[in-house]
Symmetry: C2
Subunit: 304 residues, 2 copies
């Protein structure tokens, strides 16, 4: 199965700490890298964890608070200095361009490298990106400013051919393509061999949902239903649920409840307030409702 | 003697490395902190090295390349979240305000905390700041865009009183103030005691010059003459002097020649190209001309 992973670059909330950077993650599928959010120091973390910046062509930004975007100017600048060519696509609130343009004046002189901004829809679930391997949808969250989550879903892949039989029957390249699409194989003498004898079903379609910053929001449950991996913010423990409500954040318990009701397989919590030196109380609290919970930590790679 | 130091927060050139952050330094005198340049990650480095962000009220920015300013939005945002009050003064090219304003929209709602921009003069040496203990002057450097260096000079301090004699003669508070200004002491019976008998000369006035990014520039020699400590960029070794010339940077040898001709006491070199994994060849090269040369390294504190 092709590796499909998410690497945590930053797990703090607005104030970074000695061990936690502000929010950023890299989703990797089939050797392609997709960046979600870009807090200050994202380029430093990518270098530390051996992730090649030049491989990033698509960046998804949940919202325009500084701890989710202040790493963009440095990352783009380093990409440019590294000789990156072509287009870098950023999916974000339309104001991002207004914020970045004065900082990226050097881009004006670079015809080979261009940033293309794609405004997100914060009102309803929308398909924002697709390539041959996956789709990315956005969906509304509830924060102090416009904010959305992202759902990464692997696309249905082709059938796998059973190499031993394919070679034994000496099936042509052209017929192999036809077989992969699901058709039966017809031999030169007219004999039909059912497709199921010659192929193996495609890999299961895996999915990952990213939800930060937000109040716990029941409207997202049908969107993230049954995902393999959910990242949900848990800025506070539940004894501070009034503060969470006031600041439009979630508690670890609330994140776990969302995970439980959505039937997801695994939950990562993050975006921890700097008041928590250790993540244990947050993880312990979430596990009372959803045992398969893990804390986001810088450099950790979660398999989707 | 009051501690007067500079702490290196970042010593890389445009591309940060696994061990080097982009340019930033903290000058500390009399428990006051002054920031010079603010590359991405400055707030992370300040936290790491135990320097309180709230104590920064004055920031000096040499020029508007990203590796000298991309840490500003995060630093200011963290100061605001930390409840900082009053004014933060930034001395920089006038375009900085245009670059920062769209990122700092949250400041609009903060009446207690305000950023005040002071445009620098890139044509001639100018006094940009003074308080009771020091002056900061800017002076033109030669880079691809407007750029200046900074000269931190301690002000002449008062004479120290000789406590033993002052107590023995039972000199009043009022007369002590007069003595500190340099006047002789006249006893009640009219006897004159010369000032030099009752005082010790003030501490030597110390000075620090910061010069990056720049070609080696002989015009700065009279400005930085005899400073106690000089930071001069040394992006390359001298075998790449053509590249240095083309990119408006200096080599380690050229930095050392400036230090030698200026009669400075000690030289720090920094702003190293990411191609140098170790600073040894740069330091070795500089020491052939100016033996008292040291490399800037993150977290290092140099006494001025």
């Amino acid at each position: 199965m092709t590796p499909f992973t998410v690497t945590i670059l930053g797990s703090s909330s607005a104030l970074p700490t000695l061990t936690r950077f502000p929010t950023s993650q890299v989703v990797s599928l089939n050797d392609k890298l997709y960046l979600i959010d870009c807090g200050e120091g994202t380029q430093i973390q990518m270098r530390k964890f051996g992730l090649k910046m030049g491989k990033i062509n698509h960046i998804f930004i949940s919202h325009l608070h500084g701890d989710h975007i202040f790493g963009l100017p440095g990352l783009i600048s380093t990409m440019a200095l590294g000789g990156k060519k072509g287009e870098l696509h950023i999916y974000a609130h339309s104001d991002l361009k207004i914020m970045m343009d004065p900082l990226l004046i050097f881009m004006k002189d670079m015809n080979d490298f261009k940033v293309v901004y794609h405004p997100l829809n914060f009102r309803r679930r929308s398909l924002v990106f697709e390539d041959s391997r996956l789709t990315v949808e956005s969906f509304p969250l509830k924060h102090r400013i416009s904010c959305c989550g992202f759902l990464f879903k692997e696309k249905q892949q082709e059938l796998h051919l059973r190499g031993d039989l394919i070679n034994y029957l000496n099936i042509s390249i052209k017929d192999r393509v036809i077989l992969k699409s699901g058709a039966d194989y017809i031999k030169a003498d007219g004999t039909v061999i059912p497709n199921t004898d010659l192929t193996i079903p495609p890999d299961r379609m895996r999915s990952y949902a990213f939800c930060t910053d937000t109040l716990p929001r029941k409207q997202i449950i049908p969107v993230i239903q049954n995902v393999d991996l959910l990242y949900h913010e848990a800025t506070f423990c539940n004894d501070l649920k009034d503060l969470a409500l006031k600041t439009y954040h979630s508690t670890a318990l609330q994140a776990a409840e969302i995970a439980f009701k959505s039937g997801v397989k695994k939950l990562i919590i993050g975006h921890f307030s700097s008041r928590y030196k250790y993540e244990k109380p947050l993880v312990d609290e979430a596990r009372t409702v959803f045992p398969n919970t893990f804390a986001a930590n810088e450099g950790e790679v979660f398999v989707i």
